[in-house]
Amino acid sequence: MTALRREDFCCVAREGLGDPSARIVQAMFWSGDGLYVGTGGRSRYPLGLSASALARLGPLGDRLRQRDATQQNRPIGARLWRFDPQRGDWRQIYRAPEVSNGQGECYPRDRNIRAATVFASANGPGGLYVGASAMEGAFHLLRSVDGVAFVDIPHHNLGLPPDADIPSVRALCPLNGRLYTSPVGKLRGRGMLDDNISDYPIVFETDDPEQGAWRAVSASAFGDPTNLSINELVVFAGALYAGTLNIQHGYQVWKTDVQGASPYRWRKVLERGAGRGPAASIVTCMAAFRGALYIGSALQRQGHGGLDRYGPIPGELVRLYPDDTWELVVGESRPTPQGLKVAMSGLGAGFGDRFNRGPWCLAEHEGWLYAGASDWRIFKTFLPGPDSHLSARYKAALRDSQAGYRGGFALWRTADGVTWEPVTCNGFGDDPAIYAVRTLVSTPFGLFAGTAGSRGGFQVWRGAAASASSAGNGG
């Protein structure tokens, strides 16, 4: 059981593997002897707005389009890379096909890859499954049996109407020979950065993804219309857990034993952001570790616009047991209907750092649980405006902390879930644009960390104890 230190990490990919506009590693998994990395870029229209939203802006929308065209900000589309750690080389194995809108405009069909898993059904050969977000229309589901060639498989809109707005999936979760997912994002009527809110916050199931035989196995939004999407699906202790986005009241976590006829019986095991309220609006990550399910949470949209424009509001980490009791691991101690919750780790929200937006990914590696975080300072939304009623002293402190930020993120580790130690509090490198660890994957060749950056392309780092780090450090 070797704990990884900052100096055990080396960069195996940088600058988006040649495409600086690929800023985030949104999906990463290990299969066979290779690491798969799914990326992508911006949406088809400027500022992430929909065509209709741009039209509503009138002349401003026209100017945004013109500026976009002048700057040649063409979306790059989804890409899937495979890394061979023994040879240290990268290979692009999927690139979104170009499609035409019939008016001479071509664009990549898929925006990015946000979900991936390895799955074997009772009826099919099994393989690698990837969810590709769509630039227009519904998402696409891809499958590969050899780990190299990916082909579309039908999903029949998950059984929803043909015009259902389901541009993306964020989770593909196998359990007992079945595959589970839930659509996220909106293309129609969306605002900026609405990549999570969904018209169909429903869990879907299939035991035959090759035929696209999906069916709903939960009520819409679990019967609570304030649940705006189901972002995380994870298996723990034989049950399926779903984490929601709930801006109004705070996130919820639901579970089912997937027994009996569908829709299954779901039970709410956490609500109101585990007692924190709307400041914990979204489940950002979930992972099982030593008999408990660890759940990270944050404020959705990282402070962009509306009620989220203040901050910083650091994220939290709780752990849930199979009997539905829970403990606060990292966060603000508080009274709750279930009793007084005191942070087990002794660390306040954000691991004690007010600018730590919270864990964005969790992974167990060689007996340690790692939590990769996102830093709030890359977006200056928290800097108070002239009408703020914060004290002059506090405003100055916020401005000073921003001035000293040179990029980076926090990565923490624990062996027992209680005692947490920082691997790094300011990232691995010196790139000021990198602000988060978005994905963590444990492999026989070390722990891989995929980053998020505001520009300049994503990075992938490999953490391996000194004795295991002789191979695969190229890149």
């Binding site: 109004q248 009241h249 705070g250 109101r272 952001g273 007692g275 924190r276 309220g277 709307p278 400041a279 009620l307 424009r309 203040y310 509001i313 603000e332 101690s333 508080r334 009274p335 209907p337 009793g339 007084l340 005191v342 942070a343 002794g346 306040g348 007010r354 009408d387 703020s388 009623h389 914060l390 004290s391 002293r393 506090y394």
Partner: protein, 243 residues
């Protein structure tokens, strides 16, 4: 804000209660005499004396007049062992209570300045809390407390590191049975909280507001709504929150 005479009466009441554990006119006379014999002393010194008298019991203070950054810093310096509970209230409920108070105190109804009466105390408290040791600070929504007072009182006692005494909790749940409520004295003269003393039972728990009255809505600024959310508040009717 209480007047100077009310302050003085409140202190006399506290001295009588702490020193002689009596709440009658005789004890109050003794307290007045004791106070007259003292050389000038500040509030902190007085509180230390009161704390000595009631030991090993703990002293609880609640007063909005402490909500000034310099005062809070001074309290923390003088009482480094103190615990701080931020008992919050929904801004709309606060606005309603402020409106009722205006009417009861004979003032003309007016728009409630939630920025002054709700937001500023919240911001001062939040900023002050950031500088406190984590184990010394706790925030609790008053509405949650009133829904399950026995549950939350038990948690507060646990947080303070005290024994969870069921009898003590049962007593706390019924302030209308406390000595000041049963005495013939007009206790309103000996406290800054006349409204509570007039009706000393725990208020009835109410749900969060589903609408915002016309005299409150203009005060519900974007900033207030943000900090209300940060404290875990929402409103059932979204339209009441819209600008």
């Amino acid at each position: 804000m209480p007047h100077r005479l009310e302050w003085q009466n409140a202190l006399i009441g506290a001295i009588a209660q702490a020193r002689w554990e009596r709440l009658d006119e005789t004890a109050l006379d003794w307290a007045r005499h004791w106070l007259l014999r003292q050389s000038p002393r500040n509030g902190a010194s007085m509180r230390l004396t009161l704390a000595d008298w009631i030991a090993p019991r703990q002293m609880v203070e609640r007063n909005l007049c402490y909500l000034h950054p310099k005062v809070l810093d001074r309290i923390q310096r003088l009482f480094p062992e103190a615990y701080y509970l931020h008992l919050t209230c929904h801004p709309v409920l606060h606005g309603r209570a402020a409106g009722r108070w205006r009417v009861r105190s004979g003032q003309r109804p007016a728009l409630i300045d939630l920025t002054r009466t709700w937001l500023m105390p919240v911001l001062i408290t939040l900023e002050f809390f950031e500088g406190l040791p984590r184990e010394k600070r706790l925030t609790l929504r008053g509405e949650d407390f009133l829904k399950e007072p026995a549950n939350y009182l038990g948690q507060l006692i646990k947080w303070l590191g005290l024994n969870e005494d069921r009898d003590a909790i049962a007593t706390m749940l019924h302030p209308e049975r406390w000595p000041f409520a049963e005495t013939e004295l007009d206790w309103a003269a000996f406290s800054d909280d006349r409204e509570f003393l007039a009706y000393p039972g725990l208020p009835i728990a109410r749900g969060w507001p589903d609408h915002t009255e016309e005299d409150i809505a203009p005060g519900m600024t974007h900033e207030i709504r943000h900090y209300a959310r940060l404290l875990g508040y929402t409103e059932n009717d979204q339209s009441a929150y819209s600008e």
